[in-house]
């Protein structure tokens, strides 16, 4: 959280781009046809919203709602309206994904450190943590959440995508120009650019030369998988997305999945679920009519 809180206006694209850093990612705001003054105003608005959500749900910030939930030691915590909506969403995702999407899976990070090394945890380490994973062990009745002591929730899996969508919607309500918000490759666009042109955004998959160009008119794009966050042992690559039901990554999957959806949040859910399909990732994504790109 040592990011500098500043919004810079820099040349980029066909004109200017507002840049800031949030959620450990470089973020940018593009407003089609806006002058520098308006871009600055909108860029600062977007940054404030993303920073607000970052603070609100960061698991590193003592005293915020996530920290209070994680330290409640089994006591019921009354959450604010926004967190309540998010927990409702987390509950639906858990059902829908048959447990593959689980906001309580963060405790597995105690065993998994994806630092590019070969330090794969032992099955007994994972076995010891699994009792602390599982949304079904929580008692959620909006606005009250009761979680067994020792468990943790973490909105990191989808919080950034949500923040991108929020910032984009916020700006769309403030300007008649088309807007695009991009935080580290997770992006949302409020509509097509002037004359119906697509937004074209370079997505750095972290795999060197294979940076790809994404075209987007409206909605969101999200990428899961990260070339720099994995473990490699005995030739087996362990990506950093874990299956909460087993505590292990799904082997044989792609390095990175980029999916387009009607919102960045939805795209984020789909790309995460795709990563958890392993070898079936592509097949999974073919089931519905969205653009996607899978890098093996």
């Amino acid at each position: 959280m040592n990011e500098t809180r500043s919004v810079r206006i820099e040349p980029g694209g066909d004109g200017f781009v507002a840049r800031f850093t949030a959620m450990a990612s470089p973020c940018e705001v593009l407003v089609d046809g806006a002058d520098r003054t308006e871009l600055r105003r909108l860029g600062e608005l977007a940054a404030a919203e993303v920073w607000r959500i970052e603070q609100h749900w960061s698991r590193y910030l003592p005293g915020n709602i996530v920290d209070r939930i994680n330290r409640a030691q089994g006591a019921a915590i009354t959450v604010d309206a926004e967190t309540a909506r998010f927990l409702d969403y987390a509950q639906q995702l858990h059902e829908l994904s048959e447990g593959l999407f689980d906001v309580t899976s963060g405790v597995l990070r105690r065993a998994w450190r994806f630092d590019g090394s070969d330090r794969v945890p032992t099955p007994s380490q994972i076995e010891a943590l699994l009792p602390l994973v599982g949304w079904q062990k929580l008692h959620w009745q909006s606005p009250q959440l009761q979680m067994p002591a020792g468990m943790e929730i973490d909105f990191g899996g989808i919080g950034k995508e949500y923040a991108v969508d929020r910032a984009c919607a916020l700006l769309a309500a403030q300007t008649s120009h088309a807007v695009l918000v991009n935080c580290g490759g997770d992006l949302a666009a409020s509509g097509p650019r002037a004359q119906g042109q697509d937004w074209r955004v370079g997505i750095d998959s972290g795999l060197g030369a294979s940076s790809s160009l994404i075209r987007l008119r409206q909605g969101g794009v999200a990428t899961s998988g990260d070339a720099h966050r994995f473990l490699l042992k005995d030739g087996q690559r362990y990506p950093h997305i874990l299956n909460p039901r087993t505590g292990w990554p799904v082997p044989g999957g792609p390095r990175s999945v980029t999916v387009a959806g009607s919102s960045c949040t939805e795209a984020g859910v789909l790309s995460t679920l795709a990563m958890l399909q392993g070898e079936q990732a592509e097949h999974f994504l073919q089931q519905f009519s969205g653009d996607f790109q899978v890098i093996w």
């Binding site: 920290d67 405790v107 009745q141 009250q144 949040t265 789909l270 399909q277 999974f284 089931q287």
Partner: protein
């Protein structure tokens, strides 16, 4: 997993209801404020009753804390104590009735029947205690807590201040703690503080001479060092060391020690005398373990030793059985054992009192073993409130010690190690507001 069309629609609908909330407002308009219900109140009532009509106490407690947000917590507490009943005055039982002067003076006396442990039944006291605290983060992983406290009863006033620092390390798996506290106590014995080891007159109280006086005080400094380590996802270990230094008047102005002959007949009584310095060390270890993803097992051991020669061991065991989502039952067991202080005397043999500097017959400084069994029942309510009720039974078994050899035979028929028992009932209700 297959994501069919219906699931895809559900995902779209769920996402829409998350994001499509009407009226997107700028950040400033919904800055997260302090928690919705910043107050937490802990209310409680404790009833304590010793067997055989001895001490009983009623103690209502109110604690309130206010969450200022950002992990800053302001707290205040109030305790009211009302005690009455009889407590041992330190004198030894005798084969004849014994008469003692009442500490309230004015020539009043009370008499203990032959063969009974002398109890001062004029004991009645009310106490009010208050505390104030503030806890705040110093950095992302460290906290400081500061506190003030005071208490008052008719012959005793106490003020204290404390500070406690804690530091989280190793991704909060290790917590180091250090604390310091200071206390100043002033006792104003009824009828003046008696001169230590002076004779208790059958009719008069203590004297206001040079050694005595109307008010006495003492200072206490306590230091605490601790470490809490998460051992694995299910257990943690806590280790503490504490050092206590006290100096000043630590004698109980109402307690005496009997001086007896070979037949255990009391010749006279001396007001007790304790050293004015005391150094205490305590080591504490606690192991907590989650069991069956539901319950909590808690085991602790404390070793205590001080410069007065007391060594004590405390073993505690409790098991919190969360038998349903809302209810728990918690049985507990505690064992305590101490040996007698160096200057403890059940009684002094005639002549033994000459040249003594310190002597006390207070059974709390004698050797004894205590066993406490308890059962707590509690409920967590849907609205976040919780309540519990706990019943405990305490049984204390004295060990005869420091009986003058010359009178040992004469004491054989008398209660030299009386048992004591107590029932403790406590109730608590906690709510947010």
């Amino acid at each position: 997993m297959q994501l069919n069309e219906q699931q895809r629609l559900r995902l779209a609908a769920a996402t829409l209801s998350l994001l499509g909330v009407a009226g997107v407002k700028p950040a400033a308009a919904q800055e997260p404020a302090a928690p919705e219900k910043p107050w937490t109140f802990d209310t409680g009532l404790l009833l304590y009753k010793e067997g055989n009509g001895r001490v009983q106490a009623i103690e209502p407690v109110l604690n309130a804390s206010f969450n200022l947000g950002g992990e800053r917590l302001l707290s205040a507490g109030l305790v009211f104590d009302s005690l009455s009943g009889a407590s041992p005055n330190g004198a030894a039982p005798a084969h004849t009735a014994q008469t003692f002067s009442s500490p309230s003076g004015g020539g009043q006396t009370y008499t203990t029947a032959a063969g009974k442990t002398p109890l001062d039944d004029t004991f009645h006291d009310q106490r009010v205690a208050a505390n104030l605290g503030y806890q705040f983060p110093l950095s992302h992983d460290s906290k400081l807590g500061l506190g003030l406290r005071g208490s008052s009863e008719y012959d005793f006033t106490s003020f204290g201040a404390n500070a406690h620092y804690s530091l989280d390390l190793n991704q909060k798996n290790t917590t180091l703690g250090a604390g310091v506290s200071f206390e100043y106590d002033q006792v104003r014995p009824v009828g003046g503080a008696p001169q230590p080891l002076s004779h208790m007159g059958a009719g008069g109280g203590g004297g206001d001479d040079e050694e005595g006086g109307s008010s006495k005080n003492k200072n206490l400094v306590d230091l605490l060092l601790g470490v809490t380590q998460v051992l694995d996802s299910k257990s943690l270990l806590q280790l503490n060391y504490s050092l206590g230094l006290s100096s000043g008047y630590q004698t109980d102005p109402y307690k005496v020690v009997s001086v007896v002959d070979a037949n255990a007949n009391p010749l006279y009584y001396l007001y007790e005398s304790r050293p004015d310095k005391r150094t205490k060390h305590a080591l504490y270890a606690e192991y907590k373990r989650f069991a069956f993803d539901r319950d909590v097992l808690d085991f602790s051991y404390r070793f205590f030793t001080d410069s007065w020669g007391i060594n004590a061991h405390t073993l505690s065991l409790s098991y919190r059985w969360n038998f349903s989502e809302a209810f728990h039952l918690q049985p507990s067991l505690r064992f305590y054992r101490q040996n007698a202080a160096d200057f403890y005397h059940f009684a002094l043999f005639s002549g033994e009192d000459a040249g003594l500097r310190y002597a006390s017959g207070d059974p709390r400084l004698g050797a004894f073993t205590g066993l406490t069994g308890g059962l707590q029942f509690g409920q967590q309510l849907r609205n976040g409130d919780s309540w519990n009720v706990r019943l405990e039974y305490y049984k204390q078994r004295g060990q005869s010690s420091d009986i003058p050899a010359q009178a040992a035979a004469a004491y054989s028929g008398l209660p030299t190690a009386p048992d004591m028992s107590a029932v403790i009932l406590s109730m608590g209700y906690r709510f947010n507001w």
